[in-house]
């Protein structure tokens, strides 16, 4: 009986996790080749019709929402790099109050996204009506995304920075290197792992943005903030008989994310070999 025990230990987690990831994806793959209605039933085999419609039809919003999501992601990435890293550097300098700042900056990460969306809905109205025009809406949402993640990412960078031995900086100073040079030649290379980690997490996370769109803009104005998660939601739950189409969209999204994760793993692997 000894050899059975480990399997009993891991069985519950396995059961639940595998069911609600791989099995679920399998079911949705099957659903995506049907015209499927999850509520009143009555499905019909559709072959690749749903995929064809998503990718090629005139009235499909797939490419539009993919593009919007990609822009949003890119803006979040740039925003995070421009805020979290400098903040971490500054926070390190302001040594005495580090803990206090960490707390204050971390607040958004522990507040439900719904609440942040409701508050910023009005703040964006007061400060420049950012949600009213098509070319400011998506950047405004990205601003919210960056603001929300500033503290969290700052803490990660702080951790990464604290791993860099201070002797490197001392040695560089003795050699006459200025602050900028120290940053370029010591900080950035040694921070690479953390940088890549933050970048990947930011991109993967921002690709799934939903709450702020759902609460604040409903995809508008003029579809400028319609992101892929929102399109999936609308087609799955607000339209009759298109659960199969929504499943196809979900699989297409997964494909995009998967490719990206593969790329990231490649980068990491090559880094490891380099460091060894």
């Amino acid at each position: 009986m000894r050899c059975l025990a480990p399997y009993l230990y891991i069985a519950p987690v396995f059961a639940v996790t595998i069911v609600f990831s791989f099995v679920a994806m399998g079911i949705s793959l099957v659903a995506s080749v049907y015209h499927y209605d999850a509520f009143a039933g009555a499905s019909e085999f559709a072959g690749l019709e749903n995929y064809r419609r998503a990718l090629f039809a005139d009235d499909s919003t797939f490419w539009l929402s993919l593009r919007n999501t990609a822009f949003y992601s890119a803006m979040c990435l740039v925003g995070v790099l421009l805020t979290a890293l400098p903040l971490a550097l500054l926070c390190q300098r302001a040594r005495r109050f580090q803990a206090l700042f960490r707390t204050l900056y971390f607040l958004p990460s522990i507040t439900p996204g719904v609440i942040l969306a409701l508050v910023f809905y009005h703040i964006f109205g007061v400060w420049g009506q950012l949600l009213d025009t098509a070319w400011t809406s998506l950047p405004a949402l990205a601003l919210l995304g960056v603001w929300s993640g500033a503290g969290y990412n700052m803490v990660i960078f702080l951790a990464g920075l604290s791993e860099i031995p201070p002797q490197f900086y001392e040695a560089a100073q003795i050699d006459g290197a200025g602050r900028a040079q120290q940053f370029r030649h010591i900080t950035v290379p040694l921070l690479r792992n953390t940088l890549v980690f933050v970048m990947v997490m930011t991109i993967i996370g921002s690709f799934q943005v939903f709450t702020s769109v759902y609460i604040m803009t409903g995809g508008g104005p003029e579809r400028s903030t319609e992101v892929i998660a929102y399109t999936i939601f609308i087609n799955a739950f607000a339209v009759a008989g298109q659960m199969g189409y929504a499943s196809a969209l979900a699989w297409l999204l997964f494909a995009v994310v998967f490719v990206f994760v593969l790329i990231q793993m490649r980068i990491f692997r090559s880094r490891r070999i380099y460091d060894e």
Binding site: Y9, P12, F20, I110, V119
Partner: protein
């Protein structure tokens, strides 16, 4: 303090003000009456408490203190959101779900992490890799598939329907396994010699020594469960089961929303986690460092 760090301090303080501003906005707006909010959406202080208005009122001039609702106590919106908006029920639901999800997840993750860390069995590494690979699928993609599974199980709009997918999670297993591996093997050897079986070792030796990791994971899970939105939005229709996040989104969907009341409910929804965070900062921040470095 050098000039450089003084400058850094100033910038950090400015940044902190930017971070705190929305919370101040939320709090201040939650004290406003409907008319005060409609008249001035940007101010942090309700009109009837502003010095300018109070002075005007004392001088006998028309002021914001003559507006309808100016005589209401500042906590009126909090009371109303409970009386008319069932916010207390939503808060209680959020709490129950968070506690249940945290408890079950911790339990399941402890078992599996211990097996992966300390037990030897055929296929161990393969199974671990398989488990971790489930993290590749992002939650947004899983929304519709999980709904289909729950529907096939007949659990739509039930308590189990909300909780079951939330019990899944490979990240906790990963984190705890890391923590368990860091415990010196000699302690377990000693316990084994004393006659403890695996179960005993787990509960008497390993767990007490990995408290920080456990608390960290528990806190993260609790916060994640408290903040969950898309899943309950999709799987619930019976209002008795709504967590606060879904309840809030409903208030704001009304055609003529009472925003100050919504903000009051928001404050009540954000406060518990903030309090929890203040209590347990150390573990949360430590946990982030742990996850950031070990990927």
């Amino acid at each position: 303090m050098s000039r450089g760090s003084r400058l850094a301090l100033v910038v950090m303080i400015l940044g902190a003000m930017v971070m705190v501003y929305p919370y101040a906005y939320m709090l201040g707006s939650s004290f406003k009456t409907r008319k005060e909010f409609a008249e001035d959406r940007g101010s942090l202080i309700p009109a009837r408490y502003q010095p300018g208005e109070i002075l005007a009122d004392l001088r006998g001039e028309p002021s914001a203190r003559d507006w309808p609702g100016a005589d209401w106590p500042f906590y009126q919106n909090y009371v109303d959101s409970i009386r008319y908006g069932r916010v207390d029920r939503f808060l209680a639901n959020s709490f129950i779900y968070a506690v249940l999800i945290t408890g079950v997840q911790l339990f399941l993750n402890i078992l599996a992490a211990y097996a992966f860390a300390r037990m030897r069995f055929p296929g161990r590494d393969l199974l671990f890799a398989l488990l971790l690979s489930t993290m590749i699928v992002p939650p947004a993609v899983l929304l519709v598939p999980n709904f289909l599974v729950i529907r096939d199980l007949g659990l739509v709009d039930t308590l189990w329907g909300i909780l079951l997918p939330s019990f899944a999670g490979a990240f906790g297993v990963f984190l705890l396994r890391q923590a368990f591996l860091n415990i010196p093997g000699e302690l377990e050897q000693a316990a084994r010699i004393d006659g403890c079986g695996s179960w005993g070792i787990l509960w008497n030796v390993v767990l007490p020594l990995s408290k920080p990791a456990l608390i960290t994971l528990g806190l993260f899970t609790f916060m994640g469960a408290w903040n969950m939105f898309e899943w309950p939005l999709v799987v619930l229709s019976n209002q008795d089961y709504y967590p606060l996040t879904v309840g809030l989104s409903y208030f704001s969907a009304e055609t003529s929303s009472d925003w100050p009341r919504i903000f009051a409910a928001s404050v009540m929804g954000a406060a518990p986690l903030i309090l929890l965070f203040l209590f347990a900062q150390r573990y949360l921040v430590g946990g982030i460092r742990l996850s950031g470095l070990n990927t």
